[in-house]
């Protein structure tokens, strides 16, 4: 059959499209729920209005995002059965458990408490209201952890045995599946990357508002009270975002390095292909740039740093790292077939790996520079300091501000960096999943054996077309809405609730059920 229309090719395209799309929303959901929860806690504890406005503002953007995350997640729960029924039969005993746990222990938390948070502003005492968003945030973390445990089992099957009668995987230790190093490191890497994503999102939008305010002032307009409140909320947000970007960026780098070492050990082919390292070398260089020639089994152009790959794999500049051709030969000898059957798409893995690191670390660097230049008091000459409701100056040294040109570009990069982690996440997933090919479960099941035998080409093509068109239309709608609300900025006219609603009472909400109170419009309505 024509490879382009082979069942596994179609099913893989569908899985790739729906999953990469879903994962645009997931990291933002994970991080923005925590950011919103942190800001609401700050408001509950300090009573400062700026935190209330920031909570409402980021909460709104978070909700626009999570709506998409939730609905695109529904497809994920069912498409294993739809397109990958042989896979589902083979792995269900092991793989189904974390999926069911995710639904029972995480999805219910998220979806129930998000409803309470959205509609609960005038129904719940503020501490309970704040607890709701924390529960949502914890739910998103749990959700990520369970699904990553399932994915890690595909990368490195563990805690199972092959049933002699059914020839299928059978779970022998759920504990191993949930706590093997692949799971833990992958969860750490994904979560830190998620926080970097949210941080960049916050930095980008806060930079947009602060840079606009700065330009307005440069044009001679003096900010009024409303404008100052807005600046105050955005300034706090910017600093919060920068701090998270630096911590999460460091965490992403450290966990990425650890994950790389785990992968060198568990899936040598993935890492060799990430480096386009064709033949085993001692010590192995890290290639900065390479153009591979798959047919010839070597690179035609290459620029590399000697010994660095050995260091990444083993913490030692001199050790040997196995190459693509060597691993392919070994796998062919072990599992049968030709060595070339065991080589993933080197172009995609090589560049996916580089773009993941490049985009992720650019945001991290931007965060670190921003954190330094926007400092408020520390190491700043007193005349250079700015108030809580002023746009910060970008300070290089205690006395020296950035030039106008660099200030302009710094703010612009702050805005641009918003999209980088989203790209990094996508490339990271594309790399790790493509780098495992031809396996769907490493060493146990090949992707071509995993598809649904009963599902025809026409059905899969229909569903790819439907999802692609639907997702594209929804992306347009979501992005427009997000831009509209992000540009509008925090609604600083909104007063924080003065009285804490009581839970008990004849009609819910406000304690006294006098006519006027009972007839008050809802604080939030669809």
């Amino acid at each position: 059959m024509d490879l382009a229309l082979a069942p596994e090719t179609l099913a893989r395209w569908q899985f790739g499209i729906t999953t990469v799309y879903h994962f645009l929303f997931v990291p933002l959901t994970i991080s923005l729920s925590a950011v919103t929860a942190g800001l609401e806690t700050a408001w509950v504890r300090t009573g400062k209005e700026k935190y209330f406005h920031a909570t409402k503002f980021w909460g709104k953007l978070f909700l626009i995002n999570i709506a998409m995350g939730v609905v695109t997640g529904i497809v994920q729960e069912f498409q294993f059965g739809m397109n990958w029924s042989s896979y589902s039969r083979f792995v269900g005993d092991v793989f189904g458990a974390p999926l069911a746990m995710e639904a029972l222990l995480a999805f219910f938390f998220e979806s129930t408490f998000i409803g309470l948070w959205i509609f609960g502003w005038d129904r719940l005492p503020k501490k309970i209201h704040c607890a709701c968003i924390w529960i949502v945030a914890v739910g998103t973390l749990l959700s990520a952890y369970f699904i990553l445990a399932a994915n890690s089992w595909m990368q490195h099957p563990n805690g199972y045995t092959i049933d002699p009668h059914t020839h299928r995987a059978r779970l022998t230790s759920i504990w191993t599946v949930l706590t093997q190093n692949t799971t833990l490191v992958q969860a750490f890497h994904t979560l830190t990357a998620s926080f970097l994503t949210g941080a960049a999102f916050v930095v980008g939008i806060a930079s947009y508002h602060l840079w606009r305010a700065k330009r307005a002032q440069a044009a001679g307009r003096t900010p009024d009270t409303r404008e100052r409140k807005k600046i105050g909320a955005m300034r706090s947000s910017l600093r919060t975002g920068l701090v998270i970007a630096v911590i999460a960026g460091m965490g992403t780098a450290i966990s990425g390095d650890t994950l790389g070492k785990v992968m060198f050990e568990q899936q040598p082919m993935k890492m060799a292909s990430a480096e386009a390292l064709w033949d085993t070398q001692t010590p192995a260089p890290f290639s900065v740039f390479a153009v591979g020639d798959v047919a010839q089994g070597h690179n035609s152009v290459e620029l590399s740093v000697p010994g660095l790959l050995s260091f990444l794999a083993h913490d030692d500049f001199t050790q040997s790292v196995p190459g693509i051709n060597n691993v392919a030969k070994a796998e062919a000898a072990k599992y049968g077939g030709q060595p070339k059957d065991y080589i993933p798409n080197i172009f995609v893995t090589f560049w996916g790996f580089r773009l993941m690191i490049g985009f992720g670390m650019t945001s991290f660097a931007a965060g670190a520079i921003g954190l330094w230049t926007t400092r408020r008091k520390r190491w700043l000459a007193p005349q250079m300091r700015t108030g809580e409701d002023e746009v910060p100056r970008l300070m290089l040294t205690p006395h020296r501000e950035m030039s106008t040109f660099f200030t302009k570009w710094s703010w612009r990069i702050g805005i641009l960096t918003m999209g980088f982690p989203l790209l990094a996440n996508s490339f990271g997933w594309i790399f790790t999943e493509m780098g495992r090919q031809p396996w769907v479960v490493y060493g146990l099941m090949k992707t071509r054996d995993a598809v649904s035998p009963g599902v025809g080409q026409a059905e899969v093509i229909t569903s790819i077309a439907v999802f692609t068109v639907l997702y594209a239309v929804l992306a347009l709608i979501e992005v427009r809405l997000m831009i509209q609300y992000a540009k509008a900025g925090p609604v600083v006219d909104e007063e924080p609730p003065t009285r804490d609603p009581r839970l008990r009472g004849p009609s819910g909400g406000d304690g006294d059920d006098t006519g006027a109170e009972a007839d008050k419009p809802l604080a939030f309505a669809y």
Partner: protein, 335 residues
């Protein structure tokens, strides 16, 4: 009792929870066009489920995930076999979820009308298709020795399955109308009750016919008991609705859904997906289930988590227990 029997019951419980809760969500979606007369009334209806619809839908994801974990073959055969109807359901659930969240986010007439159309159609189709799907599961579909579905999409739309779809559609809409009568105030509450009365009669006729057909074709004495409960609960629900006992009417329309699901599952047991090609190739609780170890782990998880879920979801309903009337709907706000 073997653990895979326990899990058969638990899967039935999850689907019952799903149809009970998302049943009235679908009903409310349908009623936005059947019952509401203007935008404010549509918003009253949508906001009765506003805080809870998302949590309700998780019952479906859990039913799906639990089927994957406890009966991998059931999961694989069902979702690859019912591919296109499931695709339609997924698309509807996606569009409907986004519609609830985004409808009020822009003060633009066309924007709001489009999302309202989306809410209506994306409620009608799944409400109908779930009935088609379950009718086929109970009745049996072509399945080969390797447990793969061998039929075509048209095989799924037999008269029996179409009747099943009509039953879930009317039953969910009735359930939604009873829910609307319980959760709203004023004129719309009265009309919701009258609509529920009419829909209930239609549902009673269709559901009795469908369940009787099920009983004759695949029933046993146990399913007959559940069938009797379903029909009786529906009749009493209608009477309560007529006499204005809205709480009881809602509880009993819920019992109707639970008993109807029980009828189907009892008729099914011990199969989970009978093969119409050869009964020996049917998927059963024993040949489609996971290993005892996995089932034991999942029993612990479900045993602890499910009561917690029910408790905090019940609390949510208590927090939002206040009825909503047109005067509670805020103006075009920018939230």
């Amino acid at each position: 009792m073997h653990l895979h029997d326990v899990w058969f019951v638990l899967i039935a419980v999850l689907w019952t929870g799903y149809f009970f809760l998302e049943g009235f969500d679908f009903g409310i979606g349908v009623l936005t066009k059947l019952l509401a007369r203007d935008e404010t009334e549509r918003r009253v209806l949508i906001n009765t489920i506003g805080p809870v619809w998302d949590g309700n839908e998780v019952w479906l994801l859990t039913a799906g995930g639990a089927t994957f974990a406890a009966f991998p073959d059931w999961y694989a055969t069902l979702f690859s076999g019912f591919y296109l109807p499931l695709l339609v359901i997924l698309v509807c659930l996606i569009v409907r979820g986004v519609a609830f969240e985004y409808r009020a986010k822009r003060d633009d007439e066309r924007w709001k009308r489009n999302w309202e159309h989306a809410i209506f159609y994306a409620s009608v189709l799944p409400a109908f298709l779930w009935g088609v799907a379950f009718a086929n599961i109970v009745r049996g579909v072509p399945i080969d020795a390797a447990k793969n579905f061998t039929g075509g999409v048209l095989d799924l739309f037999s008269p029996y399955a179409l009747l099943g779809g009509a039953v879930t559609f009317t039953l969910f809409t009735f359930h939604g109308a009873v829910f609307a009568a319980l959760k709203t105030l004023g004129d719309i509450r009265e009309r919701a009750r009258r609509t529920a009365g009419r829909l209930g009669l239609l549902t009673a006729v269709l559901a009795s016919a469908f369940l009787a057909w099920t009983q004759v074709h695949s029933g046993n004495p146990r399913s007959l008991g559940a069938l009797a409960v379903a029909v009786a609960a529906l009749i009493v629900a209608l009477l309560c609705n007529r006499s204005g006992r809205e709480g009881w009417a809602f509880a009993l329309s819920g019992v109707t859904i639970a008993a109807a699901v029980a009828t189907l599952f009892l008729a099914l047991f011990p199969d989970v997906m009978p093969s119409s090609t050869n009964p020996a190739w049917s998927l059963t609780v024993s040949n489609a289930s996971s290993s005892p170890y996995t089932l034991r782990i999942m029993t612990w998880v479900a045993g602890i988590a499910t009561p917690m879920v029910i408790a905090y979801q019940a609390w949510t309903y208590w927090v939002f227990r206040k009825r909503i009337g047109t005067h509670h709907i805020p103006g075009p706000a920018h939230h």
